[in-house]
Subunit: 421 residues, 2 copies
């Protein structure tokens, strides 16, 4: 089933906002068995919107528009839709009351523009927006569905998840689909693909494996589609069980790389492991400059297992706060196995934590040498009984080198906690 | 002059990548006086690409495509363009040699696919890509220009800046334009707009002011367009001078908010001020969890003015490493003026720095109380002679509260260094 996306708004064409909506929609629709056949962005102009609706309807059974539902006079999507569907615009008291209640709840005065936002095409089935003011709209014509959603990402996502996807499923019932995503860190797509060659070849045709890479991480998504035309009542369950079994096999093939599933993040998984073990964590950071601590504390509730960190950018602070010996720095340098080992020992002591990670490296662009090029990073993790150190060379720009050092560092903490180092 | 953007690639429609290219292109083109009339994304499919080229050519004088120039068999843009322009594909030795030299330079073996990437439509004017393998292409037909660029953002940006924009300027010489962007932090768009009402009203019609907001910051961009049909030789210079004068007035109207111009970031500006004064900085962070230190150290060369930080998430570490008195924490709480003041004094001491920033707050989603709701943040900045403290309430989600606290914190450091607090 094909979907065409229509993004409405001058701000998209002017480049004032990065369009994250269509990537989110593309992913969600793919997960539910729909294919985005194309997308188009048009300005806030009546003629452009009408023409684009025609073009989109010619290419897909489902047309989803985002944007142009706001409270200002630039927001003309409501009027354009009314015209396209030959429908009058009418004031909708219920929507007005809901917008009024919404503003009361967030403690803001009801703007005059609420009347405009509650003036809607009569032919629209309204989709209740519980997280904002503009309702979504659903139209049908000639067997095709047109959905209009606000452009604000979290409002669009709310309406898509709560209203649109369930309705689409009902309107166009398809074959059951099942997904399972595993998350890996520490290796690239091509290395993983080599290790999974036999697994991929042995996959039945109705189960596919997709690689979704991001910085230092790769998500592996298995998608199963019910393979027969006949649909037993337990088809959904059987398909899910089958995909789940393949996910188990996949996990067993990559025990060193898989850290979680679905929406897990590395920092959440590390936090969970610490909490389960009743351990308190801290970091001693040089080149990452606090980025490890930032990732850990971006998780709500991290105060239960994170005490704090020492960011020792200067050698003086490595000596003073982490007890690194001046002799070590002089002999081996700040970016060395010896230094990161002493940094861990010092962090355990200074921060009074059970487990500590240390990172020292050359983020760049300056500071590299032939022996230690830009991107060279030493990291160590340890507790009071053992310390493990590793060297990596990330040949990226400064920001990515910092981010990769933090991701590899957290992954090393995870493995240390699992006794897998 | 209108431009139509064509994004080619399945990965965009599947949502596997967020399309940041078109926002960048929209901004750059706007800066040079071009208007993006629309954009369309199509899959890696011959028929879709050909149809989209026709549609785009019907709507603009300039068509820019990105993507589909890679080395795999999915990348069919070269072939589609050859067909569209009725041109043969031919092996181009010079491009092949350049790709070979590029791979030698980055120390990687030359892949077989280099032959494919060097097989190009004969009618194309090639645009040399010095930062990657795929060259850009320039075609003309019926007075319209078609440009094909790789989808990798930094390669696309390089070719656009170095090759495409200068050629467009020559091919379609327009009236001179001049831009000046000022960067502000600490107030929202509507507050700033109120303060600039008189300024905006007095602007001549050929000079416009745009508000470009992001988290905690607003960029103000002045754009001047030469107002007459006659073009004296010094038109460009006169226009730049005029825009510059308005930028001076603007800056004078918002002395407390403007921190820089053009591509300046707050962390760069703070770094520059510290370096000019020969001062060393450090931070004492609770709720920001290292994010201030991360921003500061994301700037290359920050080791010249940044020594390190204490991330004291637990009260124990606030006491032990920052010398905050247990009595203070008990009586006023960790999120209080008293605590952040003691944190600054402690940081100056422990880190041995000249200037320190401290931050303590409730990032959320838990931990709020009626007196101190989620988003309440106390921050203090000081040296050995004075400490200034401020309270803010950011009613956003956890990550945004952390980011806003860091941005407001850095802005406070900036003002402290300028004696403007």
């Amino acid at each position: 089933m094909d979907v065409y996306l229509l993004l409405i708004g001058d701000e998209i064409l002017l480049g004032q906002v990065v369009d994250t909506n269509s990537a989110w929609l593309g992913q969600q629709l793919a997960l539910h068995g729909y294919r985005v056949a194309g997308k188009m962005a048009v300005p806030d102009a009546r003629a452009d919107i009408l023409e684009a609706l025609d073009l989109a309807a010619g290419r897909a059974q489902i047309v989803i528009t985002t944007g142009g539902l706001g409270p200002t006079k630039d927001d003309i999507t409501r009027g354009a839709l009314a015209e396209y569907f030959g429908s009058a615009l009418a004031f909708h008291q219920e929507t007005y009351d809901r917008i009024a209640a919404y503003f009361a709840r967030i403690g803001k005065p009801l703007p005059e523009s609420a009347r405009l936002q509650a003036t809607l095409p009569e032919k629209a089935t309204l989709l209740t927006n519980k997280v904002g003011s503009a309702p979504g709209m659903w139209f049908e014509r000639d067997g095709k569905v047109f959905v209009s959603l606000p452009g604000v990402p979290f409002e669009m996502q709310y309406l898509m998840t709560e209203e649109v996807l369930p309705r689409l499923r009902e309107r166009f019932p398809g074959r059951p689909l099942a997904h399972r995503t595993l998350r890996t860190a520490g290796e690239g797509e091509s290395t993983i693909a080599k290790r999974l060659e036999a697994f991929e070849e042995a996959l039945p045709p109705h189960i596919r494996l997709a690689y979704l890479p991001s910085l230092g991480q790769v998500r592996l998504r298995l998608t199963g589609a019910w393979p027969h035309a006949d649909l037993p009542p337990d088809a959904d369950e059987r398909l899910h069980t089958e995909v789940e079994e393949y996910a188990h096999r996949l996990r067993a093939l990559l025990p060193d790389l898989v850290y979680g599933a679905e929406e897990d993040t590395l920092e959440q998984v590390v936090g969970r492991l610490l909490q389960e073990r009743g351990l308190i964590f801290g970091s001693a950071e040089s080149c990452t400059g606090g980025y490890v601590a930032h990732l850990i504390t971006s998780v709500a509730g991290s105060s239960k297992y994170f005490a704090g960190s020492v960011i020792a950018y200067s050698n003086d602070l490595k000596i003073k706060l982490l007890g690194v010996r001046a002799e070590t720095l002089k002999r081996f340098g700040a970016v060395s196995e010896e230094t990161v080992r002493e940094m861990v020992a010092g962090a355990l002591d200074t921060l009074g934590v059970d487990v500590a990670l240390s990172v020292s490296g050359i983020a760049g662009p300056g500071g590299g040498t032939p022996e230690k090029p830009v991107g060279t990073v030493w990291l160590a993790v340890g507790d009071r009984t053992r310390i493990v150190a590793q060297k990596h060379v990330f040949a990226r720009d400064r920001i990515k080198n910092i981010q990769l050092a933090a991701i590899f560092g957290l992954n090393t903490v995870r493995k240390f906690l699992l006794n897998a180092l």
